[in-house]
Symmetry: C2
Subunit: 215 residues, 2 copies
């Protein structure tokens, strides 16, 4: 395997605090993005930025977002620099002192300028990437988007050129003096799991749930 290219080193992607949590490995950035279903997109506006949850997909070193052509976030975001953050909460870190409580997590922060994708082939590929990230396998078994639906959907591309990754894993780090305390310490892992599928009330009775959806 070739060594993956390193992440960027710009003022805003250089870690300040908790440097030991930083990861410089592009493969880890990809893995964190690929494991997520929604990101938080931050768009500058006058005053506070707008931070909204939205779906996304990755193709190589490009992140794709989609949305209605009328969505304010995409309309505002297309013109300016944005930030996209993906976070996985992996565990609650229970220490013997309140101060050393923490969370185990993996997070990726990407900065860049959103590009509106107009070329039909890339637009379709970007939509497919978003779709596969949210619901793997569905692109090939459902009705594809028609001309009207494509026209109503904006696809935006964000290069993964400027990004940072932060990871905390492992047990709590308590002060030496607190180790004698009569308090349980450790990690409570957090997982995201699927529940029992709920069929559409309008579903034809002869169509079974495709088990590969939760494989």
């Amino acid at each position: 395997m070739s060594t993956p290219a390193p992440l960027s080193d710009t003022p805003r992607t250089r870690l300040g605090r908790a440097r030991e949590r930083g990861r410089a490995d592009r493969a880890e950035l990809h893995a964190i993005l690929d494991a997520g279903r929604i990101c938080h997109l931050g768009v500058p506006t006058e005053g506070a930025p707008m931070v909204i949850p939205t779906g996304y997909g990755r193709l190589g070193d490009t992140l794709y977002l989609h949305g209605s052509t009328g969505a304010r976030s995409l309309r505002l975001g297309a013109a300016t620099e944005v930030c996209v953050t993906v976070t996985h909460l992996d565990g609650i870190v229970l220490a013997r002192s309140i101060f050393h409580h923490s969370i185990n997590y993996r997070s990726a922060v990407v900065y860049g300028r959103l590009r509106v994708v107009t070329e039909p082939e890339e637009k379709l590929a970007g939509l497919r990437a978003v779709s596969e990230s949210l619901a793997p396998g569905r692109w090939d078994v459902t009705r594809p988007p028609d001309r009207r639906e494509l026209a109503a959907t904006a696809v935006l591309a964000l290069p993964l050129a400027e990004a940072s990754v932060k990871v905390r894993q492992g047990p709590p780090v308590d002060d030496e003096a607190d180790h004698a305390l009569d308090v349980w310490a450790g990690v409570l892992p957090v997982h995201q799991v699927f529940g029992e599928p709920v069929p559409d009330p309008l579903l034809r009775a002869d169509i079974p749930f495709p088990p590969e959806m939760i494989a």
Copy 2:
């Protein structure tokens, strides 16, 4: 029960698209915030905003954030208007057409100016709120913060005065013509669950896991 006060109606909290997903009920805002463990804090910087995951807690109509006094996000955020977003992914909505795929979710977006909490009593109450939100019950059984730890921790307050709530639940909404398609449609629920607790390797062998932590 008294009727809860309505949410704000400012240009940035007024919903543009998918208005039917909006909720005007303050009790629903509280419920969404109380069900979450991390928020995404958006802080304006020159160019793109900075969007980072962080813990939070709620007391009445005030949201509390905390962090190291050295954290860049809190240092930048304290001076300006910020956005705090909490999102719960509740399900993957599988439609018969790619276009109508969606997610079921609950999200709250709060805008406002962060206030640095300096009054010792409020600072402790804010820290306790953040702690209880992340790890309920731990505040009372662990070593409380000492003077040095309190000095190293910044607590910031955000009023829940300007907020919007968006919720999507329920089955896919396919085009009438697609109902005949030979494709499973419905919702794949997503839940966040705890895994088996992992004791700190340094934990004294005679201390059992407190079962109320996962009750």
